[in-house]
């Protein structure tokens, strides 16, 4: 009996010694080996969204993001935006009147051609003249919003899809922001909280 007690006290004291720092930030600092969660955790359902490999790497390597082109109604743009004359009346308002352009504020308002490629409407174009695929629109946004892009690549801006582990798949800029008026709109909350019981 005495032996069991002594052993118990010993094990408790050892346990305390191991975790004597008691500070989670110490635990975090010590953990420097990347864990390969993809091997250990079987994600029951694979992500079904159409994704594309991002050209930039994050701290853990390559990652994927949601595609954009398959969400654009009437893509390809060159179906209408070609050299042939458009015969339908009011074609432009019918096709694009839903777009509210509110990007850049009153000081530096953007127009369509700030981002869209004049010569090849299926693509975007950067300030330096590089053609950008619409699926990689983060390259466009990152020109001005470089801080947000850095955070997005690292994981402090935007969000992952469904899983915290496994292959990293994140939302694209345009998954959450309307590129034509990117600010989140005022709206009613989904629910409310009852008063706190005092």
């Amino acid at each position: 009996m005495l032996f069991v007690l002594t052993a118990g006290v010993l094990s408790i004291s050892i346990g305390d010694a191991v975790s004597s720092d008691g500070d989670v930030s110490q635990t975090i600092k010590k953990a420097m080996v990347p864990t390969n969660d993809a091997v250990k955790i079987n994600t029951p359902m694979p992500i079904t969204e159409s994704t594309v490999l991002v050209s930039t790497r994050h701290q853990g390597g390559q990652f994927r993001t949601e595609t954009r082109k398959n969400r654009i109604e009437r893509f390809r743009c060159s179906q209408c935006h070609n050299n042939k004359p458009v015969t339908a009346t009011d074609a432009a308002p019918i096709a694009h009147n839903d777009i509210v352009l509110d990007h850049g504020g009153v000081d530096k308002p953007l127009d369509c051609m700030t981002c869209h490629n004049q010569d090849d409407r299926d693509y975007l174009v950067t300030e330096t003249g590089t053609k950008i695929d619409m699926d990689h629109s983060y390259e466009m946004c990152g020109q001005c919003h470089f801080r947000q892009k850095k955070d997005w690549v690292g994981g402090a801006h935007g969000k992952r899809l469904s899983y915290w582990t496994g292959e990293r798949v994140v939302k694209n800029c345009t998954s959450c922001h309307d590129p034509h008026s990117p600010l989140f709109k005022k709206r009613w909350p989904k629910t409310y909280s009852p008063p706190l019981a005092k």
Partner: protein, 323 residues
């Protein structure tokens, strides 16, 4: 001396020799009671046509009443109680639930970060949490509370948590508060029956059936992280989340304590908690603190972070950060 998280369920089974005697007595009582129940069943069904006979529900409930503390159960016993609870849910609610009891993953310590600059107060997380965790609709129980605060405020004491108007409001920011899964949790120390403890992956959980409803933990928690079932929780059968966990969102009863479990039924399967998945602004970051490549580690390394009431020494694993 305080209980450390490393004394998780698995180690406790071997460590806790002193509990063996208690288990034996419990085992004896259970067997005796089961025998008595069986005897009375036979007796009653022998002399009537079954109207008074204790049904399946009664038998299951009887066995549930005499089951062990979750951390002392063997894997077989865990499986048995899970089966019973699934059957009881079917009998009482007519719902086919799937209750899991996944063990914590190795080399994982869950952490959470909340971007106070990004949150716009849309409350999508609260709604998702209520749905996912089968929270009581009658008393409108919510694990998450969003505070609307003026710029410059640091703690939610001065904030408004009952707002219901169009959001976001000019010159205000929003701060979500829920269980912080402290590394040094005061609620665990306060519990007289050890019904609440910290798992090796950092999640503070409650064995609902071991909770005696004394609510000491509510008093001990400095963050208003715990919720008590003052009434029998009511969840419409068609809204019950069927994928459940023994320590997570399984159906609770009146008089039991409950709290955020980082959606244990989801996170241990690699999924994001419901709040993080529902957030439309990406203000919620969840991940493994022990993985240097994870998003949460990026936030801790590169952003300005703070924790609520850090001076109390509770060491929460929930950080707030600003862009």
């Amino acid at each position: 001396m305080h209980l450390r998280k490393n004394k998780g369920c698995r180690t406790n089974q071997t460590d806790n020799h002193c509990a063996g005697k208690q288990c034996d007595r419990r085992e004896f009582l259970k067997k005796a009671a089961t025998a008595a129940a069986a005897g009375s069943t036979a007796m009653i069904s022998g002399c009537s046509n079954g109207i008074l006979s204790p049904g399946e529900e009664f038998k299951l409930q009887w066995l549930e009443y005499f089951k062990k503390y979750y951390r002392l159960m063997t894997p077989v016993e865990k499986m048995e109680t899970v089966r019973r609870l699934e059957r009881l849910a079917k009998i009482r609610k007519g719902v086919d639930v799937k209750i899991g009891n996944q063990e914590p993953l190795d080399d994982v310590l869950y952490g959470y970060a909340f971007n106070v600059t990004r949150c716009e107060g849309y409350m999508e997380c609260v709604a998702a949490c209520v749905k996912e965790n089968n929270l009581d609709r009658l008393s409108n129980t919510q694990y998450i509370r969003i505070f609307e605060m003026e710029h410059g405020e640091m703690t939610p004491d001065a904030g408004d948590s009952k707002f219901y108007h169009e959001v976001p409001v000019q010159d205000h920011f929003y701060m979500g508060v829920q269980c912080f899964h402290c590394e040094n949790p005061p609620c665990v120390k306060a519990c007289p029956t050890q019904a609440t403890w910290q798992e090796p992956d950092g999640i503070v959980v409650v064995d609902y059936d071991w909770c005696i409803g004394c609510r000491y933990c509510i008093a001990a928690c400095p963050y208003y992280g715990r919720r008590f079932n003052w009434n029998e929780p009511q969840v419409p059968a068609n809204q019950i989340t069927r994928k459940q966990h023994y320590l997570g969102n399984r159906l609770r009863a009146k008089g039991q304590m409950e709290k955020c479990t980082f959606c244990i039924q989801r996170s241990r399967n690699g999924r994001l908690p419901a709040c993080a998945e529902a957030c439309p602004t990406g203000a919620r970051v969840f991940g493994n603190l022990l993985d240097p490549d994870s998003e949460i580690r990026f936030v801790l390394k590169n952003k300005k972070v703070y924790r609520l009431r850090e001076d109390l020494g509770t060491d929460p694993k929930f950080w707030y950060f600003i862009d």
